[in-house]
Each structure stands twice: as C-alpha cells, then as structure tokens.
C-alpha cells in the first residue's frame, strides 16, 4: 500500500470525499475504500483524517448523515451529498482544475 497519502493538500480531502459520494450514499469505511478505488490506490484516507473531515463537512451542510444497514446487516452511519454539497463539489472541482493546470504549466516550463 502506498504510504504517501497521509500528506493530502488541505481541501483535496474534501474534494475527494464529495466526489466519492456523487454516485450515492456511503458509510465511512465505504468512503475510504471508494477514494482508494477512484484514485487508483494513490490515496488511503485514514480514520484520523476521515472522521474529522466528515463531521466538519456535515456541520458545514455539504453532506448529511443517517443510520442505515451495512452490507453485513450492521448498523452504520451513512453519508450523502446535499445540494450545497454538490455546489461545493463544483466549486472545488473548478478550483482544483485551475491549480493543477497552473502547476502543470509551471513544471513544464523550463
């Protein structure tokens, strides 16, 4: 497993979590696995960063939570994207696009 991922840029984690929820509601572990999957295993979100981020984003109103049943019929807390959350995802996506473009340009220039 990759060991770099702990050093995520501030804001990048939010973006990844929001993105992972686009397809539908997930519980904490699910989000973690989904992020791993969509980033091709580059990012492994540890509970130490995942939980505070989830709770913060919930209080921001970007995601909402409810108690549901997991695949193994276990009670688990699920998260889903809210309307402000989708808007936030758009904003973050654009921002990230700009940043990665800029950094890419910077690195290509001699």
């Amino acid at each position: 497993m990759n060991s770099e991922p702990t050093t995520l840029l501030q804001g990048t984690l939010d973006l990844l979590i929001l993105k992972s929820l686009v397809a539908g509601e997930l519980h904490g572990l699910g989000i973690s696995r989904r992020v791993q999957q969509i980033t091709g295993g580059t990012f492994d979100v540890k509970p130490g960063s995942l939980f505070p981020a989830l709770h913060r984003m919930e209080e921001e109103g970007w995601i909402s939570s409810f108690w549901g049943e997991s695949e193994n019929n276990r009670r688990a807390k699920y998260y889903r994207l809210t309307k402000p959350g989708r808007k936030q995802l758009e904003v973050e996506t654009k921002r990230w696009g700009r940043i990665s473009l800029a950094i890419g340009q910077a690195l290509q220039s001699s």
Binding site: L29, G48, E58, E59, N72, R75, K77
Partner: protein, 886 residues
C-alpha cells in the same frame, strides 16, 4: 441554508452533546468492526483481524478528540472543564496561588488606583454638559501670560461676534458677606450671566437655576448656592428655598441649591448679572470689571481656530485697553480639560503611571516565573494528556485559562486594594491641585481599565509556560517520570530573562524615586531670602459699609499692632496685602524717564513699616518706611534688587520717581501719581523656588482701601497663642471685624512648594519599595526552584567530594550573574529614561552618579540576600537524601 445547518449543529453540540458523543462512539465502533470483517473476509483469523483493524484505525481516543475539535462551538464547550480543572489546580497549591494572587493584585490595584486619579483629574474632571468642548480665552503677550479675564466690552463683543463658540457666558468673582440673623461670614460669589446654567447643563438639586428673567430690570434679587454652603451653613435643610438672606447688605431670595460637583468658578454662591458694553461689574478690589469668559467650542472647532476668531474681535481693544490687550498680544483658547491640573502635576501623574506599569510588569514576570516553574513540574501531567489525545493548542489553552483565572481573582482583589488605596492617596493629594469639580474614585472607566490590565496580565503571565509546553516532548516527559534535568536547564534561559527584566525594571523605578528624593532635598535647601519660621498670618474680613477708606482700616490696624507688639514673644507685626508665598496684585510700574514696560510682572505689596522686620528682609540701600511715612500716606516705595536690575541696571534707584498705571483707575488713588523710591531690599523667592525672583515694589498700606488688608506677626510664642491673641485684640476693638483664615507662613510655604513633590515622592517610593520586594521574592523563588531541581546533581557533586562552600558559591554565582545583568540593563535604561523626568527634577542631574550607584548597591544587596537563602539550603543538601530517590 448552510448557516441554518451550522446553527443547528452548534445548538446540538451545546445541548445534546451526550447523543452526539454516543453517535460518534457507535460510528467508530462500526467502522472498526467493518474493518475487521474486511480482514476476515480476506482470510484472516478473527482475533488477528481485530488487532490489525485497530492498528490501521490508529488511536481511537485521538481520532475522537480530533473530531471533537472540528465541531462548531467546540471552543465554548471545552472551556468550562478547563476552568473547573484550573480551579482545582489552583486550589491544590494554595501557597502558590496566594503568592501569585497577592503579587498580581498589588500590581493591578496600584495601576487601577493611579489610572483612577488620571481619569478623575485629567480625562473627565468636569461634570458639565459636553465638558470636553468647554474652553476659555486667555491673552498672552510675548509668551508671557497676561490676562484670563476681560472688560465688559470685550466680553460682549466676544459673545456677539464669534463664529466658533456654541454659547458663551461670563463670571465675575468677588468676596461677599452672607448673613443670616446676626452671623455674617465672607464667601466667594460669582456674578454670572444666567445662560451659564443652561450652558453647563446641570439641574439644581433643589429649586431652580438663575434665568434670563432674573436680570430683567426690576426683577427681585435672587441667588443660588452650592452644596457645600447648603451643608455647612443651612444644615441641608430643604425648606430654606424662598428664604431671604442678606448678601452684601442686599436682601436676596434663595431660589436654588446646586448638586455637589457643580463648582464653576470655585464659587460658593451665584448671583445673576446682565453684562452690556458699559456695565460696571463689581469684583474684588482692583479686579473689578474683569469677566471670566467661558463657552462651548462648536463641534469640530479646534482651540486654535477659536483663538484666531477671537483674535480678530479683540484687535480693536488694543488701543483702549492695553492692560488686557497689549501691543502684539495673542489670544489663546484653553480647553477646560487641558487645564484641569497644572503641567507639573500632570507630568507627575504620567510618571506615576509609568511607575505602576513597571510594577505590574514586575509582578507579571514574577508570576510568569512561578507558573513556569509549575509547568516544568507538570510536564508529566501534560505528557499524559497529550498521549490521551490533547493537542498542543489545547494544553496551551489550559495554561492560559489557569493564568486568566489567577488574573481574574487578582483583579477582584486588586480593585479592593485600589478602593482602599485611593482613599489614602486622595487624602494625600495637596489641596488646590485638582479642580473642585473632580471626583476621584473607582469609576466604571477605572474598572474597565483594570479588566483590560487583567487580560494583558494573564496573557503576559501565561505566555512563558505556554511557550514551554509547546516545546515539550510528551514521550520524554513520560519516560523521565516528570523529573527532568535537561529541560529545566534549557528553560532556565526564559526564567533568567524574566529575572533580568525584573531587576532592570526595579532599578529604573528606584532611580526615578531617588532622583525625586534628591531634588526635594535640594528644594528644601534653597535659600528663600527670608526667615519663614515663627510667622503667623491672619486674613481680616471687613464688615460691609464700614472701613471704606484706607485710613479707617489703618487706624484699626495701628491700635491692634501697638497692642500685639506688647505681647510677650512678639518681635514684629505688620499690616500687609499679601503674605508669602502668594503675591496679591501684579502691576505695571512706569519709571519716570524710561519707556513704560508692556508687562504687568511687578509684585506690588501694600504694607506698614513692620513688614521688613517681620519677614527678615535685609535693607541694602537707602531706607525703609518709617511709621510716619505710613501714617501720612507719603508717596514712597521700597523695591527689591531684581526691580533695580530690570529698570536701572547699575544706576542708583534711590530718589527716582515711579507711577502705577494700573492703580490709577482706583477711586481712592491719590491725585499725584508719582512715588519716590527710598530703599532697596535684598531679593527673596516670590515666583517659586526654582525660578529667579520677580521684581517687587512695596507701598504704604494707607494709599488705598482696595485689595486685601491682612495681618502678619513674627513671634517666638506658640502660633496658636498668637492667633488667639490676634482674635481677641480685634474683637476687643471692633467685634464686627472678623478674623478669617489663619496659619503660619511656614505651612503655606510647605504647601506651596513641597506638597506636590512630596506627593510624587511618597507614591514613587512606595511603588519602588514594593517593586524591590517583588524582585527579592522573584529572585528567591527562581533560585530556590533551580536548587530544588538540581538537588540531585548537587548531591552527586557532594558525594564526589565537593565542599559545601563550593556548592554555595556555585549557586550564588548563578543567581548573582542574573542580578548583575539586570542591574547593568537597568542602569543603562535609566540613563536614557531619567531624562523624561527632567521637568520634575531640580538641583540634581538626571544622571547623578551617586544616585545610580546607591540604587545599584541596594539592588545588589537585596538580590544577594534573596540568593543567599536558597544557596545555603543547597550547601546543606545531604547527598544520601538527594540520591536516595534515584
């Protein structure tokens, strides 16, 4: 919408935290179990899977704490337990808490007390409406103060033609006799334009103020009194309104009583007065027709703009009234607040404020040191807390909360100290130093100030231990079991810096006090030019309508003087218009054959032949008055050396002619205005101890009835006996003549010249002493603490053969190094800071080497004693005991 979500979360976090926490618990547990299930599904054994899941998850408590810290309102939520914990911590070490609270309380209390004085006498001395805009014009000529009251015509023009004042009223002071029944007493009355009451905006306590109706022709005479008069004379009887009293032989009705702080013009009572261009305004003696002109500046108008405005209006008066408006005169507008106390006292207050701020800083660094020492011994506790998930920020906040708690308790105690201390300080402020309107006490403003000082204190005190904690490594703290040598030595630097600062601050404060002491001593050694001891003065109050000529007054005096000189012990006695250090009447003296001077700076004293012997003023040239000169009002004058120097240089003044242009407007002034100089006496101080004497001129007391006619007696008898004798002589001859204020000239001098420097001195010395005590305590606690930390090391040294004297020397050397560094820094700073005190220091250089040396020696001694005690303890360390704990 997001805001709504946020508020809901905040409320939930605040009020149903238990449910939120349970949710978090369950979420974490579910997460862990799902992780484990994942592992099991991948083929792990259940136990192994759970273990790996836990490792992958990380510290459960830490994760939870991190989540908690992300919550809205987390800050508020966690402060309460911090406070509770802090209180418990402080209660657990009552000795430390008591010392810290007492130290801070003294610092905060002293600062609050001095701020209260500044607030009461400089910032908000006057209770009147918009007092910060109240101002009055004065006139200067060539940088010399000339007039602060003006003739009626000037007042009327100022009031009518100005564009810079919102309103303007006039007030004329004079002494009146207020009688009820048989008793008649002199009081200070202000004849005022009635709009004054509206302008000042203070409602009477009882009855009504004076109004425009009261100055209509034919209006019944009425007056208003101040609170003191009501209390003193009328026993605070509310039924006195509407009663009639005799004020200067006129029956007047009392219509109002003003509240305590209404003291405008320093008057006891106010009479209505209409001022037109040709009103003759009754005033005291030669100061009739002089109107004190006061008003509110319009909003946004500066005193300079107003002065320029009035300058134009006053310009035409230069021709008619050169006494008030001399050629090249300059109008200056003074705001009330800027003139509430004189410059020296204002400066003294600021010096005191600087002094107490240093005291507070010393107190802060002392407590910071104590807290730092505690923080080092609490490293284990903090290590455990951070292992359990507390963030650095959280730990630092805990420390700050504790120092805030300390500071808050100290603030409460400090305000109590300030409240008690202020009573003592206010009693010590020399009279006539602050305006009568000013009230000095713990105002709301002062309490706010002390709160601000407290917050600052808490931050300063809490900073050092907080920094310390930030640098502490939890693992090392736990591993070494809380007894750490390396760290304590490392952080010794911060402690050392604090001690050095403390010592330096106290040096600055002590040097300031020593310089003030030296200048007071120098002042007391000034030769004032006469012998002030054994002189009694008595103010004489003349009944209305009698003794209207100077001769009538003089013949009464002659009888009293003759009888007094018979009294055993009396060596000389005189009738006089003024007694030192006060001078009644500054005049212009024109010497025949010379260009008339443009200033009114000559002190004129009306007296009889006994004056010079009473004060002990030696004659240098010519002759003094004879009894015949005085009795027959001969046109002769005596002058002092400065007068001769100013007007004649090397010429012989005796026999030359002078005239008094200012006095020639007096009704009873002789037709022939020329006077002959018959003698020259030696100079004596008459314009303060620090300044060279002003010119003086002496005239026979029989020339005019205007101005005061008082009595001065030199005797070896007990002053009270003489005063008793004076009273009985007057009442034997004419019981209507009242003897007013009495006392000794020495006490007047004392009050005038020494009271203020002494006030400053007592305060500064008190602060400097407390500061030195703080420093001693600070040095003691730091050295003791270091010794305690190093007792193990000292034990090893002694076990290896170190002598106790060597250990003693080692500890002493460490302590004294700090003190010497502090002394050096303090002396260096004082060298520059003492210059700021220059205006308060006299007769000694601000960098006076013996003063600096004495203070340094004192600090060295005090610091040495404070080091010696713990050093002795170190020397007695028993190696067996010290090493046993290893």
């Amino acid at each position: 919408m997001p805001l709504f979500v946020k508020v809901r979360s905040f409320l939930r976090n605040l009020f149903s935290i238990r449910r939120v926490e349970m949710g978090l618990d369950e979420e974490v547990r579910a997460h862990l179990e799902m992780l484990a299930e994942e592992k099991i599904a991948a083929g792990m054994k259940p136990e192994e899977a759970r273990r790996v899941a836990r490792i992958e998850f990380g510290g459960i408590q830490q994760v939870k704490e991190q989540v908690r810290e992300e919550r809205v309102g987390h800050w508020l939520r966690s402060v309460m337990p911090d406070c509770r914990y802090g209180i418990r911590q402080l209660r657990n070490s009552p000795g430390f808490t008591a010392v810290a609270v007492l130290t801070l309380a003294l610092g905060i209390g002293a600062t609050t007390a001095i701020f209260s004085i500044i607030d009461g006498s400089l910032l908000r001395p006057y209770p009147y409406k918009d007092a910060e805009r109240l101002a009055n014009p004065v006139v200067f000529s060539a940088d010399q103060f000339r007039a602060w009251r003006f003739p009626a015509a000037a007042f009327v023009d100022f009031k009518k033609q100005n564009h810079t004042f919102e309103d303007m009223f006039g007030l004329v002071n004079r002494e009146v006799h207020f009688s009820r029944g048989q008793v008649s007493e002199p009081f200070f009355a202000g004849s005022v334009t009635p709009d004054m009451f509206e302008s000042l905006g203070i409602a009477p306590l009882l009855g009504r103020p004076l109004t425009a109706e009261d100055v209509r022709p034919g209006a019944p005479p009425v007056f208003v009194i101040n609170y003191n008069l009501w209390t003193k004379l009328l026993d605070r009887d509310p039924k006195v309104l509407g009663n009639t009293y005799t004020v200067d032989a006129t029956r007047m009705t009392l219509v109002g009583v003003m509240p305590p702080r209404f003291q405008i013009g320093g008057c006891d009572l106010w009479l209505p007065l209409n001022i037109t261009r040709d009103t003759f305004v009754p005033g005291s003696g030669i100061e009739s027709n002089e109107i004190w002109t006061v008003g509110h500046l319009r909003t946004g108008i500066s005193p300079e703009t107003a002065a320029a405005d009035l300058q134009i209006i006053a310009a035409p008066f230069q021709k008619d009234d050169p006494i008030y408006f001399p050629p090249h005169f300059k109008v200056v507008v003074n705001t009330f607040n800027s003139e509430s106390v004189d410059r020296d006292f204002k400066f003294g207050l600021f010096a005191l404020m600087a002094g107490v701020s240093m005291l507070l800083l010393i107190a802060c660094s002392n407590v910071a040191n104590l807290l730092l020492a505690r923080a080092t011994t609490r490293e284990k506790e903090f290590g455990i807390r951070s292992a359990l998930g507390a963030s650095r920020v959280r730990l630092v906040r805990q420390l700050l909360v504790e120092s805030f708690l300390l500071a808050l308790v100290s603030c409460a105690l400090g305000c109590l100290f300030a409240f008690i201390g202020l009573k003592a300080i206010v009693a010590m402020i020399p009279s006539d130093t602050i305006p009568p309107e000013a009230v000095i006490g713990l105002s709301r403003m002062a309490l706010l100030f002390s709160l601000a000082a407290t917050i600052l204190t808490a931050l300063i005190c809490g900073l050092a231990p907080a920094l310390h904690t930030l640098r502490t490594d939890a693992q090392i703290a736990l591993a070494s079991g809380g007894k750490r040598l390396s760290a304590s030595l490392r952080h010794g630097k911060l402690r050392s810096a604090l001690v050095i600062t403390e010592v330096a601050l106290s040096i600055v404060l002590s040097i300031g006090s020593v310089l003030i002491v030296r200048s007071l001593l120098a002042l007391q050694n000034v030769d004032i030019g006469f012998k002030p001891s054994n002189i009694v003065y008595a103010r004489i109050s003349w009944p209305d309508g009698q003794y209207e000529s100077a001769q009538q007054k003089h013949s009464l005096f002659r009888k009293v003087l003759d009888r007094l000189t018979q009294f055993p012990g009396v060596t000389a006695a005189t009738e006089t218009s003024s007694y030192p250090p006060h001078t009644f009447g500054w005049t212009t003296v024109v010497v025949s054959g010379k260009t008339p001077p443009q200033n009114r700076n000559t002190a004129s004293i009306m007296c009889t032949e006994g004056y010079f012997r009473t004060l002990g003023r030696p004659l240098l040239r010519g002759s003094l008055f004879s009894q015949n000169d005085v009795d027959s009002s001969r046109h002769v004058v005596v002058v002092n050396q400065t007068f001769v120097r100013d007007h004649f240089g090397e010429e012989d003044p005796v026999g030359r002619q002078v005239r008094f242009s200012d006095f020639e407007t007096l009704a009873d002034w002789p037709r022939d205005p020329f006077f002959e100089i018959i003698g020259v006496i030696a100079d004596a101080k008459n314009a303060g101890l620090q300044d060279p004497p002003k010119p003086e001129i002496y005239l026979p007391a029989t020339l005019t009835a205007a101005g005061p006619h008082n009595l001065m007696v030199r005797s070896t008898a007990y002053p009270l006996a003489i005063i008793q004798q004076i009273r009985s002589e007057f009442s034997a001859i004419d019981p209507d003549v009242a003897v007013g204020e009495t006392g000794t000239v020495a006490s007047l001098l004392n009050h005038q010249y020494f009271a203020r420097p002494r006030f400053l001195l007592v305060m500064l010395c008190a602060f400097a002493t407390v500061a030195l005590l703080f420093v001693a305590a600070g040095v003691f606690s730091v050295v003791s603490y270091t010794v305690a930390l190093r007792s193990h090391e000292i034990g090893i040294r002694m076990a290896l053969g170190a002598q106790s004297t060597q250990v003693l020397a080692m500890v002493l050397k460490r302590g004294m190094r700090l003190i010497l560094a502090g002394i050096a820094l303090g002396l260096f700073a004082s060298y520059f800071l003492a210059r700021a005190l220059a205006s308060q220091i006299w007769g000694v250089s601000t960098t006076n080497p013996p003063s600096f040396a004495a203070v340094a020696a004192l600090a060295f001694f005090v610091g040495g004693v404070a080091c010696l005690l713990p050093a002795c303890r170190a020397a007695r360390v028993d190696p067996m005991v010290a090493l046993r704990y290893e």
